[in-house]
Amino acid sequence: MEITTGWYLVLGALLFVIGGTGLLIRRNPLVMLMCVELMLNGVNLSFVAFARQLDDIGGQTVVFFVLVVAAAEVVVGLGLVVAILRRQPGTTADDLSALKG
């Protein structure tokens, strides 16, 4: 059975969906960040699959940048989480509802 691009795309889609679902149902901020990483990885996989299919190195370059940005995002996000959780250990995402309308 030939592994065509489609398989990789489906796998990427699955990872994306699982990550998204996790993001919506977990309350621990750290775990939510991890789910975001999952989603990004799913997308990365799709990019690489397309890079190979279309014979374009641009797809891999984009993945490179996604990696960098994900790293920066994690750094800042964790900084925020540290700042918040240091004051109030045990805070969950639901407790951060000060912007309630």
Binding site: G20, L23, L24, I25, R27, A93, D94, L96, S97, A98, L99, K100, G101
Partner: protein, 625 residues
Amino acid sequence: MVELVWLIPALPLLGFFLLLLIGHRVGEPRSGWIATIAAGASFLATFVVFMGLLGRDGHSGDRSYEFILFDWLPAGSLKVEAGFLVDPLSITMALFVTGVGTLIHLYSIGYMHGDPKYSKFFLYLNLFLFSMLMLVFGNNLVVTFLGWEGVGACSYFLISFWHQRESAATAGKKAFVTNRVGDWGFMIATFAIWSALGTVTYTEISNSPAMSAATGTAVSLLLFVAAAGKSAQLPLYVWLPDAMEGPTPVSAMVHAATMVTSGVYLLVRMNSVLTDDALLVIAVVGAATALFAALCAVAQHDIKKVLAYSTVSQLGYMFLAIGSGAYVAAIFHVITHAFFKALLFLGSGSVIHGMHDEQDMRKMGALRAVMPITAGTFIVGWLAIAGVPPFAGFWSKDEILLAAWEQKNIGPLLWFVGLVTALLTAYYMSRQVILVFFGQQKWEEDVHPHESPWTMTTPLCVLAGAAVVGGAINLPLVKDWLVLEHFLEPIFHHPHHFSSGTSTKIALAVISVVAGLIGISIAILSWLTRRIPTERLEPEFLENAMYVDATYARVVGGAGTSSFQKTADFDAAIVDGSVNGFGRVIMKFGQLIQPTQSGYMRNYAIGVAVGALVIVAVLAWGLLL
């Protein structure tokens, strides 16, 4: 040099802005001098433009010059420019408006001394002068209307200048509201002229073919409504006596010499439009007003109220002249009236100032020894208004009476009314002079009346001089002496020519002089020498101006007020209600949506996710199909 016409209104406007910015800081009397210099410069500019106009080719066609600043309202085929029309009529009006205006500015420097709102007074005066000049120089009905509204507004400001006094504030409102009725007439007339003739510019109107008789009469009567509002004719005169609440210079300037003559100016300017039927109505109303006001003046005790009713009466004469077709006579009387009425008002102001704000004539008397200059000039004014030759008033009033006699429908009746009015005028003015300056002293010793400063007596003397020689501009009987008539000739479509013979003219003149002397004698006999008992000469009916004001108050206050109240309620309930209701609906809607703003991040994430999903699905739908 006629191109400098724009300077004439610009200088008082400049004075206005200058005073607006720094008037409060320079205080008195410098702000007064700023205003006076602005007015004086305007007068000089007027004189220069006048010379320029005279210097142009003497043919009547060239005696008018239009100076267009810019296209004000270009809308379809309507062409309204911001333009000035320099022609004999406007320059004549401007000459005495700026001349008398400058004198009154000078007078006010002394009169308003000590008033906390000193600079504001001069600010308003300059603004008024600007508006009046725009009115006079406008080359179309709309620019004139700009000035018309402007003088109305300034009149309101100046009448209620001492607004802490309830009566002054009310008087200002009354003036404004009554004027507004006249403004309505002006506007409708303008619209009608535009729709009938397709233009609102004066030069084009006078060159247009005549309108149909019905339209023409309607337009003429509407213009007369406007004039009646501004120039205080029946039934819209009621604001003028109350306008005496304003400071005396205001009464002199606005309500004697300039603003009230703008109605006369308007009708003279639009003379090509006025139909014979309308002219008859104008003549009748003018004569009736003259008589009515003279009767009211007979029984007044306030020194200024007498002069106020006198103004209404003299304005009635002017409209009588217009109605009889003698436009030149009307303008002539405007000029002479400006001189002697301003003189009389300023003189009364001097008396009030000297008597420390006492205005009741029953508390004056024998003031001529204490205030000689005021008394002397006031007497000159009295003689002028009473129609004693050779003072100015005689010549102009006489020309009007002659024109009334020649009016083709009811000439002799109009002439008779005018004659009776002249008698009454002589009577009540003499009464005033006697009560104030002659007779027994009725004031307490501690009042210390004194003569006024030079800033106040100088204008009095100048005006007195003008009242003496002013008649010279239009002496009858010899064609060359009719200077004013020749000067104004190009304005009129159908120049008026007196048809009576010389003997008739002389006879009528003699009769009117005799009437004047009779009036003076009655006054002397009753008030000075006490031969005639005076109790019956001041009936309460006349003292209360025939209860016209009270009637108006009952009508407007009763039925009027309740209908106003209903309109206000409608506005509050329905209009405001719907606007507020709309706001309430929006708020309700907001409250409905509020639960979506839960503050929980995950809810928002759901929103983003599901939204993205929907969008992708929609896009994919296109691809899949």
